[in-house]
């Protein structure tokens, strides 16, 4: 069977794109063939820096002949129908059709169409240019004279030549006849750019691979990787060293050479006083070289492995010397960074964080650190950490971001901070937390366990979550640019692994309030800082710079239009000249609006920690409000504290209540997000998602550890006979209740009358008594977090419930008795709600 060989030779393809491109090429070509009915035996694609190649083996020489019968119109049908039939069947006249007679339908025409299969070569000539034109490179470009015209071919870098042959092993294959943008497919390719740049004639895959090898091109990336890895290990071994393996780097380096030649270079051992991670990052990131370590030790050796693309005439001396020179210069830089960084205590770097924007709407790293430190302190007692250490670690956690070393190698964040902290004599837990607060980074990453690390890691992640929640940057579908899902999963894993009790919703609520307070202060600062030229642009600027106020000011039902009014009013208020004529403005609609918002701002003052500052700003705001109401300024000064009090009593309570409600709502939506993440996590661990739903359906479930405990207990309970039967009884009760409640148009939520039940059937009485006891016991057990005990209490209901359904007719003649029996069923529902919402449980 014939094979296809395709080679697309270009200028250097970025290493990171090669493997994907080879896969895409194979998939696109084979899919297109299969879609046209051409099956193949095997396909493999390859990539080097200068070519993509594809071998499709075992294709048919031509497609299968197609035979089909197409039913036509009746004999004697109108001409229009006949013409349509002839056209669709590809016939010239009815003579080419056969007549078939059917006992029911009579006689009609049938066209027997025979289409010979198309030669594969033609089909290839059709699909290959299409695939090349539409190739999904992550980034592509135009080039050369052809790029003067629109619609020019795009490729990752200029495409130089195309080889495309098709034919059986025994014969000279055909060239697939096509051209793209003037590049015609042929049989000529070229070898290694420097070692063998001459043209090579190729016919089919086998001789292609061999010819390339002779021309110093190793086609298969995995083989290049093998060569590099083995040569590197051997060279290291010969020097009594070991290669520090690095799969990512190996993959990249294999994409930078067609003919790997591995060499060893060395550097001055004095550079080894730089932390090993930094040495490695320097040599890896800048030079794409591997580092080596002393055999059987973790200590780095003053040597490195480089992979060149050349068999040099001097055996690689000049190449090694050149690389050593660059490594030396880079390590000198790294040493300079290390020495400079060491000399500056981490805490003195804090002010610099104030100038680094974390997110334009969430302020600077400095503000973030302040929040994280406060939160870490708050969390410390909950997770068993020393509050001072937790706060200290949080304070220092981001300071390495402004060190020279991390500036150069961002991947060393945390780790360098830890090193510098150790050097300046921080407590070991504090130093460790600086590195570990980023953890867990991925699903396989370690979860921190040192209480200080836990406090800072949780604070960092919660701050991220709440912050992005506040500015509406929540994950949607596959988009999660700020890795919020990962942050939530991190929180979940830390809490569960360390068995900590943390109220997610109430913590989040508190953090929203912090963000809110900060925002109020910032707007004021912003307004003070920049004199107004134009209120319109000011309003726009504020809206652009502070997403949170826009959102938070909205919560009182203010539309964006009203926000504009606020800003205009603030500006108006601040331009002193307008103080003169307040009477008319007081009635102004803008001003009314402003008063409303100023009151809200006043409410924010409760979140300003410094009492004096709060009082001053509250007075200022109160003045504004009263002044705008039409009081004279002098009068206000006299009011002083009494004024504040009256403001507070009049407006504040209502506002604070609203504020809290809003923060509560926000944190609820975060809780839902956590619940989803927890579900995904527990499902991966094998838990039933309906049980998780059943537990989350209960109010106030914001303690993730307790949720998990409850789910576990529920799962175990439902595995038992008692559990299964009770669930069945519950479902039956719920069913009856639903039907009867609907029929009666009322609910039976009243407590059942035990006296009435005592007079009824014995089973009725038994259930009534059991319910009271079980519910009490379950409630007690839940209060002590003994979920298994609560389930145990419920399990005592099984027998009375079964007996009740067995012997008692719910729909009694006596309406009072019937109502009471329905109330009993409702009491069963209520009892189960102590542990979970059974209506969410499947089965």
């Amino acid at each position: 069977m014939p094979d296809l060989l395709l080679e697309l030779r270009s200028e250097e393809i970025p290493a990171r794109m090669q493997r994907r491109a080879a896969d895409d090429l194979r998939k696109l070509v084979t899919d297109a063939l299969v879609a046209r009915g051409f099956l193949y035996e095997g396909a493999k694609a390859f990539a080097t820096p200068r070519r993509l190649a594809l071998h499709v083996a075992g294709l048919p020489a031509r497609g299968q002949d197609v035979r089909e019968e197409r039913k036509g119109p009746r004999v004697g049908a109108p001409d229009g129908a006949v013409q349509g039939f002839l056209k669709s069947a590809g016939l010239t006249s009815l003579d080419e059709a056969t007549i078939v007679s059917d006992p029911k339908k009579g006689e009609f025409y049938v066209a027997k169409i025979e289409r010979p299969g198309r030669p594969t070569l033609d089909v290839l000539a059709e699909i290959l240019p299409e695939i090349i034109r539409g190739f999904p490179w992550p980034k592509s470009m135009r080039w050369g004279a052809a790029s003067a015209k629109p619609g020019a071919l795009r490729w990752v870098r200029p495409l130089q030549s195309i080889v495309a042959t098709f034919g059986p092993e025994t014969e000279t294959p055909d060239v697939v006849p096509f051209a793209v943008d003037g590049i015609a497919a042929g049989t000529t390719t070229y070898g290694h750019r420097f070692l063998k740049p001459d043209p090579i004639e190729v016919r089919r895959f086998d001789d292609y691979v061999q010819a390339l090898e002779r021309a110093h091109v190793v086609l298969d990336a995995d083989r290049r990787k093998d060569i590099i890895l083995h040569d590197a290990r051997d060279l290291a071994f010969a020097r009594g060293l070991e290669l520090v393996e690095d799969e990512g780097l190996l993959e990249e380096v294999a994409g930078l050479v067609e003919w790997p030649v591995v060499l060893v270079g060395s550097f001055d051992p004095s550079f080894l006083e730089i932390p090993p991670e930094a040495v490695r990052a320097t040599i890896r990131a800048n030079q794409k070289c591997f580092v080596l370590r002393e055999a059987g030790s973790e200590r780095l050796a003053p040597a490195f492995i480089l992979t060149s693309n050349l068999v040099a005439s001097d055996g690689g001396l000049a190449i090694t010397a050149g690389n050593e020179r660059v490594v030396r210069a880079r390590l000198s830089d790294a040493k300079f960074f290390w020495d400079t960084d060491k000399a500056i205590p981490l805490e003195s770097r804090l002010p610099k964080l104030d100038s680094i924007v974390f997110h334009e709407k969430l302020g600077t790293q400095g503000e973030r650190v302040a929040r994280i430190a406060a939160l870490a302190r708050e969390l410390a007692p909950i997770v068993g950490a020393n509050p001072d250490r937790a706060e200290r670690a949080a304070l220092l956690a981001k300071t390495d971001l402004v060190t020279e070393m991390v500036g150069e190698f961002p991947e060393l964040q945390g780790l360098m901070g830890r090193r510098y902290a150790e050097l300046q004599g921080e407590h070991p837990s504090v130093a460790a937390a600086i590195e570990e607060h980023y953890k867990p980074v991925g699903p396989s990453d370690r979860v921190p366990t040192d209480p200080v690390s836990v406090a800072v890691a949780l604070a960092d992640k919660l701050d991220t979550l709440v912050g992005f929640w506040a500015i509406d940057e929540t994950p949607t579908g596959s988009k999660d640019p700020y890795a919020l899902r990962r942050a939530a999963l991190g929180v979940i894993r830390i809490i569960l692994a360390n068995e900590h009790r943390i109220k997610i919703a109430s913590l989040s609520s508190k953090m929203f309030a912090w963000l809110l307070a900060r925002q109020g202060a910032q707007i004021e600062a912003f307004i003070d800082e920049k004199p107004v030229e134009n209120t319109e642009s000011r309003s726009a600027e504020i809206v652009e710079n502070f997403a949170i106020p826009a959102r938070f000011l909205n919560f009182d039902g203010l539309l964006s239009k009203n926000r504009e009014l606020l800003f205009r009013s603030i500006d108006f208020h601040r331009s002193e000249s307008r103080y003169q004529d307040f009477g008319s403005y007081a009635k102004d609609e803008n001003i009314q609006q402003y008063i409303l918002i100023a009151r809200q701002q006043l409410g924010l003052m409760i979140y300003v920690e410094d009492e004096r500052e709060a009082a001053e700003r509250a007075t200022e705001l109160a003045k504004q409000i009263y002044w705008l109401h039409g009081f004279a300024l002098e009068t206000i000064d006299a009011y002083d504290l009494g004024l504040l009090e009256s403001i507070k009593s009049n407006f504040n309570d209502k506002f604070i209540a609203r504020l809290e409600k809003f923060s509560g709502l926000e944190s609820q939506s975060i809780l839902v997000f956590f619940a989803d993440r927890l579900k995904v996590y527990l499902r991966d661990q094998g838990a039933r998602h309906d049980l998780i739903d059943a537990v989350f359906a209960l109010p106030g479930q914001d303690d993730l550890l307790m949720v998990v405990r409850r789910v576990e207990a529920l799962g175990t309970f439902l595995e038992t006979e008692d559990g299964k039967n009770l669930l069945a009884g519950y479902k039956r009760a719920a069913n009856i209740l639903r039907i009867e409640e609907k029929k009666d148009g009322r609910s039976y939520e009243a407590e059942p009358d035990t006296a009435l039940a005592a007079q009824g059937e014995p089973e009725e009485r038994a259930l009534s008594e059991a319910l009271v006891a079980a519910r009490e016991a379950a409630s007690r057990a839940v209060a002590t977090e003994d979920f298994a005990g609560a389930m145990q209490a419920l399990s005592t209901l099984r027998a009375p419930v079964d007996a009740f359904f067995d012997k008692v007719t719910v729909n009694a003649e006596d309406p009072a008795l019937r109502a009471n029996r329905l109330a009993l069923l409702n009491a069963l529902r209520a009892a189960t709600l102590e542990v979970a919402d059974f209506s969410r449980i499947e089965g």
Binding site: R142, W143, P158, F194, L306, A312, A318, G322
Partner: protein, 308 residues
Amino acid sequence: MSSAVDLAPRTSFQGLILTLQNFWAAQGCVILQPYDMEVGAGTFHPATTLRALGPKPWKAAYVQPSRRPKDGRYGENPNRLQHYYQFQVILKPNPPNLQELYLASLDAIGVDLKLHDIRFVEDDWESPTLGAWGLGWECWCDGMEVSQFTYFQQVAGFECAPVAGELTYGLERLAMYVQGVENVYDLNFNGGLGDERVSYGEVFLQAEQEYSRHNFEVADTAMLFRQFTDAEKACRTYLEAGAPEDEAGRHRMAQPAYDQCIKASHVFNLLDARGVISVTERQSYILRVRELAKACGAAWLRTAGGGA
């Protein structure tokens, strides 16, 4: 009398420049002199920015002194300078063998391709201030970046049709490599031997010290802010004054306007070095320069040089 000067690139910085000039002159390039304004890179020269736009073929090569105020190190860093030389080659459309030509130019300056490992490593280029981007590589010689190689896709916000190929040689770095010198100030500048030798340090060390002081500590920021606004205004005024009179007409002031765009860009770099531009403002300044660059690009496309 034997000359006390050896102009081979391995002994002379200016010899390296002359060799590159001769090489590209032989390829039919117009050999220009540096643009007479302060720029951050050879790309800002109108011979690249403006000439890369429009359909007309163009081949040029030139040395461009480049100023990066923030890179000043008071003459104390062996690799970093606030003023250095780039050798710039621009070929529109790019010839199909541009990589081969580039390698031949390395050979010409004494890089033996049988001994040295030359690599093209992905490096996509983007200039936010010029509204320009392209794909290409940084070219490595034994692990050291010695040039930038870019296929311009867009300049001043306009698609390049046809595409121009741009080569930028970092001359000091290349010379250090070819001369085997570790410190830029030790480069032999003139190729003079013995007493005739003039080092790079003798020519530029004092300037690096003085300009670092100027860039970081003293540059008059009030004046610079004014100059930025003035240049921005002037650019718009000149564009307005030269605007085509009708649909079919040509623009008559694209280049003087573009000079003001260059000026604004350099003034911005100085302000940035002085640390008086905040992070948020930074973005808006870059945007303002880009708007000028775009307007100048649009104007250029309405000139004879731009193919109108």
